[in-house]
Amino acid sequence: MTDVQDHLLSILVRDEPRVLTRITALFGRRGYNIKSLSVGSTEHPGVSRMTIVVSGDRGVVEQAIRQLEKLHDVVRIIDHSLEKYVDRELVLVKVAITPESRVEVRQIAEDFRSRIVDVGRHALTFEVTGDEGKITAFIEQMRPFGILETMRTGRIALTRGSNADIPAHVYHEGETQALQPTLEVQPREERARHVPNLF
């Protein structure tokens, strides 16, 4: 597998029983790796929105999208790598403090525009929202003080601009993304002859 990277997909699904199982079972059975998954309702009744981060090369992600498109409950799939998007993640971080470190920890949190959501005798709990880089940086800054617990929500994303991701008529049986040729056809003489004569 070459060129493995994370792909951010938004999957709009009918809000029906077992739809989450259907999606995750498909990923599991086909061996696609889910790195993060978050699900919530949308402004349209009956439509839920999942943001899935799947890691793999381009071929794996295209195959995952095409398999997902076959599911009856899937209304639409947006591959955010094809356009501009905003994405966020919320994380709660519980950091150990001592009387000596308290001020420094608070100062770092302030630099990250993080909010304190709980104060304990020996720990502070922070809420951080942001993209993956910011959250990773925050955690790295806090690590020396002693991180007791973290909980991340998983990434969520929307396309930039005024267009809504959900088409007006959400149950419209849309066309799949047009298939583009993925390989250039080499001139015949350049195609290697590598059939050994074993017959």
């Binding site: 295209e62 076959k70 799949t176 298939l179 993925t182 015949r188 074993l198």
Partner: protein, 582 residues
């Protein structure tokens, strides 16, 4: 689906969910349902008595019902319907659903379930059948409100038949079957038009075909309804055609351009043509590993054009140079219209030389017996097979002039498929012979369906058992890849007397044990006015060749059978005697 304009009276007495189910099925032209009753689907079976226009066929096992529905669907191209109760009834359908999924068979499965308030409590005969069948159905439903029931059934039928067909399951809790229904019974959805291939993709494919010096067409199960168009296409361009196991019949076997079947037990001509081709046009297929052999060695010199309705199959296994997404019929038609015939005498001569290497079984054995049977079939006869050596031999040796005359379990390789599928096909087309070739192993997995033949007095099902006393295909692999350690594949000392077994169900039996006896036995068997069984006792050791070993490339095929081992039956009987003495 026959739309005879007949609409049902909305009420036959009080309309329950169960009656609404039958009314919906009848409105959709469903004439036959294969099934088996039980506690959680009794209201449906009770309501059946009010709907004499739908025939229910009682099989002897739910797996038999599912395969019979598949046989019906494969023979007609229309949807097959099977039915079972909750729990064990539903789980017995599972193998048939998985089989239908892999072979793209339109199938509707109706299951009863425990009452809604008991679901999730591990109630008697409760199984989470929608959870169980989630990966092996195109879609499935639990009906939670009786008013949704007919709409869901209609939608399930539409999903099963549209696009790439497949199985859909509808699970109906018992209280929903009994609840009063007040809505309308829906009429069939119009079958959606298959998407037409884009003009750009057709143009790219035509460009490639024009430049081809050694082109070959490979037609799969998705091309069965495009048979006429593919035949025209092949002739317009003068391109040889390979039909996969699932595509046998999509191109007439008598045509000089036909090369046979590709893959593990494919013909020399088909596998060599794939290995040498510079352009391979695949139509309605999914490049199964039994077809490709080692993927890196598949069509190594060819640019691949892949015509396929299911976008997820394009590029899944084989890198595709020109994807053509859409209906096989329309694509073949457009590609034929753009034909620019250019003679390729060298390629044609080469193909003919390879075709000359067809292996004909000369000595009495499984291949000899299969050939003797298939040579007597009429073009209209439906030939089904079970799974194993006899299946591959039948696929190699039978000749099909039209589609939907060959029924077998391709993708899942389900032993026990043959007999019930042949019964389903025979009931769908009572005017033609429905012949099934089975092995002694697979036949015993669903042999109880002989009772279905007896019960419905089916007269056109002809069963041939090729009895080599072994699980022959496993034995062949043990011979080739496990140093002849024949572990648990000897059936000889425990097989029943198949003639007596048939007799117990009033099915006439015939037997041949030598080449001399065979012709007369086949004639008597085929001309019997009833459904009949023929047992052909053959030597144990024969294998199926040519063969491409698993993991090898097509060009590494073994063309003929290696030198045989000493007499196996003696070895096996000795071993059995030793075991019983010990």
């Amino acid at each position: 689906m026959a739309d005879n304009g007949k609409q049902h009276a909305p009420h036959r007495g009080d309309m329950t969910g169960a009656k609404a189910l039958w009314a919906t099925l009848a409105n959709h032209g469903i004439s036959t349902v294969f099934g088996y009753p039980g506690g959680a689907i009794m209201p449906v079976y009770d309501a059946l008595t009010f709907y004499p226009e739908v025939r229910h066929v009682l099989t002897r096992h739910e797996q038999g019902a599912a395969h019979a529905a598949e046989g019906w669907a494969k023979a007609t191209g229309e949807i097959g319907v099977c039915m079972a109760t909750s729990g064990p009834g539903a789980t017995n359908l599972v193998t048939g659903l998985a089989d239908a999924m892999l072979d793209s068979v339109p199938l509707l499965a109706i299951t009863g379930n425990v009452a809604s308030h008991l679901m999730g409590t591990d109630a008697f005969q409760e199984a989470d059948i929608t959870g169980i069948t989630l990966p092996i159905t195109k879609h499935n439903y639990v009906v939670r409100d009786v008013e949704d029931l007919p709409r869901i059934v209609a939608e399930a039928i539409r999903i099963a038949r549209s696009g790439r067909p497949g199985p859909v399951l509808v699970d109906i809790p018992k209280d929903i079957q009994l609840a009063a229904f007040h809505g309308e019974i829906p009429s069939p959805h119009a079958r959606p038009e298959a998407p037409a291939p884009s003009p750009e993709s057709i143009e790219r494919a035509l460009d490639l075909l024009r430049s081809a010096k050694k082109p070959v067409i490979m037609a799969g199960g998705g091309s069965l309804d495009a048979s006429a168009e593919i035949t025209a296409l092949a002739h317009a361009w003068d391109i040889p055609v390979i039909t996969t196991l699932m595509g046998l019949g999509a191109f007439p076997s008598s045509d000089p351009l036909w090369l046979g079947m590709p893959g593990m037990h494919g013909s020399v001509a088909a596998n060599r043509a794939i290995s040498e081709a510079d352009v391979l046009l695949g139509i309605g297929l999914r490049f199964d590993d039994r077809v490709t052999g080692r993927v890196s060695g598949f069509a190594p010199n060819a640019a691949i054009i892949h015509v396929e309705l299911d976008a997820a199959e394009i590029g899944k296994i084989i890198r595709t140079h020109v994807p053509v997404r859409g209906d096989a019929r329309q694509a073949a038609l457009l590609l034929a219209e753009g034909a620019q015939p250019s003679p390729r005498p060298e390629w044609t001569a080469q193909i003919q030389e390879w075709k000359g290497r067809t292996v004909t079984p000369e000595t009495y054995g499984a291949g000899y017996a299969v050939k003797a049977v298939v040579d007597r079939l009429r073009p209209d006869d439906i030939l089904s097979s079970d799974v194993g050596q006899h299946q591959m031999l039948a696929a190699q040796l039978a000749r099909f002039e039209k589609p939907r005359r060959w029924i077998n379990s391709g993708g899942l390789g389900t032993m026990g498929f043959g007999l019930p599928a042949a019964i389903g096909a025979g009931m769908a087309e009572p005017r033609v012979r429905s012949v099934v070739i089975a092995g002694d192993g697979g036949f015993q997995m669903t042999a109880q369906e002989l009772a279905t033949l007896k019960m419905y007095d089916v007269r056109n099902v002809k069963i041939c058992i090729i009895n080599n006393s072994f699980l022959g295909m496993v034995r062949q692999w043990q011979e080739l890849f496990h140093e002849k350690r024949y572990s648990e594949v000897w059936l000889g000392d425990s097989n029943p007397d198949f003639i007596k077994l048939a007799d117990a169900y009033d099915v006439p039996g015939y037997r041949a044990t030598t080449a001399e006896e065979l012709p007369a036995a086949i004639d008597a068997w085929l001309s019997d006015p009833k459904s009949a069984l023929l047992e052909v006792v053959v030597p144990h050791e024969h294998g199926v060749f040519p063969m491409v070993p698993a993991g090898a490339a097509l060009y590494e095929m073994i063309e003929t059978e290696p030198v045989k081992s000493p007499d196996l039956s003696a070895q096996m009987q000795d071993a059995a005697e030793e075991a019983s003495e010990a």
